[in-house]
Amino acid sequence: MSGAHHATVDAHGHAIPFSQRGPESIGSMISFGFWLFLLSDIVIFSSLFAAYAVLNGHTAGGPHGSQIFDLGGVFKETSCLLLSSFTCGLMLIAAERKQMTRFYGWLVVTWVLGAAFIGFEVTEFHEFVVKGYGPTHSAFLTAFFSLVGTHGCHVTSGLIWLLVMAAQVATLGMNPKVLRRLFCFSLFWHALDLVWIGVFTIVYLGAFHVHA
């Protein structure tokens, strides 16, 4: 991620100031810019985490997390997302090496695992709403649906993005521009798994600690 290919000293052996070393490669600028976007996205999540932490106990006579969460389901979701993050990495390696069959194969596996995650999550939300524990029931449930729902929306947009990337690879081929976009996608996908670590630790496992 940097301009290792730029000279750092001039012909006389004097160090060239950073400001005069010329432009960075487009690849490192794009990945750094996308990295900044991801960090700002994580700051959005931090405010939702803060709201959840503050409102956690405000159940308004309704259920607490430990009474409605199903750890088995959460474990399935976690496994899907982690494996999907791993296969996303394999997909990127295949893309760089121009191994198209492997690339499409890992792309499909990554997409299916991500879709399975969303499936489990929608089932869970549906079950809560049917039981009467929708987001309007208590401050705790509002914070829960906001935090987990925002993460779910991110994963859903990731799934759409992945379909768009598949179409771009199919029509434009694996050119440097498409490869850079795939790299940004993989960063996005790993970042969502990173946020999920916070969600399953604080929201789900944390709930069982409080009422253990």
């Binding site: 991620m1 940097s2 290792a4 290919h5 432009p23 490669s25 487009i26 690849g27 490192s28 794009i30 990945s31 750094f32 990295w35 900044l36 960090l39 994580i42 700051v43 931090s46 405010s47 985490f49 803060a50 709201a51 932490a53 503050v54 750890l71 474990f75 976690t78 496994s79 982690l82 494996l83 993050s85 791993f86 990495g89 394999l90 990127l92 390696i93 760089e96 050119n175 440097p176 490869l179 850079r180 790299f183 960063l187 790993h190 970042a191 798994d193 990173l194 670590i197 916070g198 399953f200 630790t201 604080i202 496992l205 944390g206 069982f208 600690h209 253990a212």
Partner: protein
């Protein structure tokens, strides 16, 4: 754009050559161990109750580190300097928002009368 492209060889301007299967397999292995440990410590009550959040916190931070290093390839070398600086600032803002909100709301609720007390005052 094309002038910039000509600077860098198309294949490796984004990724360093160290990106191999090994990094992802190590990452997956460590992440699986840490995830299983988190769930197991809650299900089987491995540790004394009050210390459980600390164990969960340590396991979560460790797994985030594993993801950053093995999946996202963030390294604190010359090449990753700006990435790590930005990450440090991000962690700072996140900690400020989360712990700041918790401390402020805790203080607020400890000095504010409860809803029952407020109702009493109104009478």
């Amino acid at each position: 754009m094309s002038t910039h492209d000509s600077h860098a060889p198309a294949g490796n301007d984004i990724h360093d050559a160290s990106t191999t299967y090994g990094s992802y397999i190590w990452g997956l292995g460590l992440a699986i161990i840490l995830t299983l440990a988190s769930f197991a410590s809650v299900v089987f009550h491995w540790v004394w109750g009050p210390s459980e959040p600390i164990l969960l916190g340590v396991l979560a931070i460790a797994q985030m580190g594993v993801h950053l290093v093995f999946f996202m390839h963030v390294h604190a070398d010359d090449e990753g300097e700006n990435t790590v600086l930005a990450l440090g600032f991000g962690v700072f803002v996140v900690a400020l928002v989360v712990f700041g909100s918790l401390i402020i709301m805790h203080n607020l609720s400890s000095i504010m009368p409860t809803m029952d007390q407020l109702m009493q005052m109104q009478r």
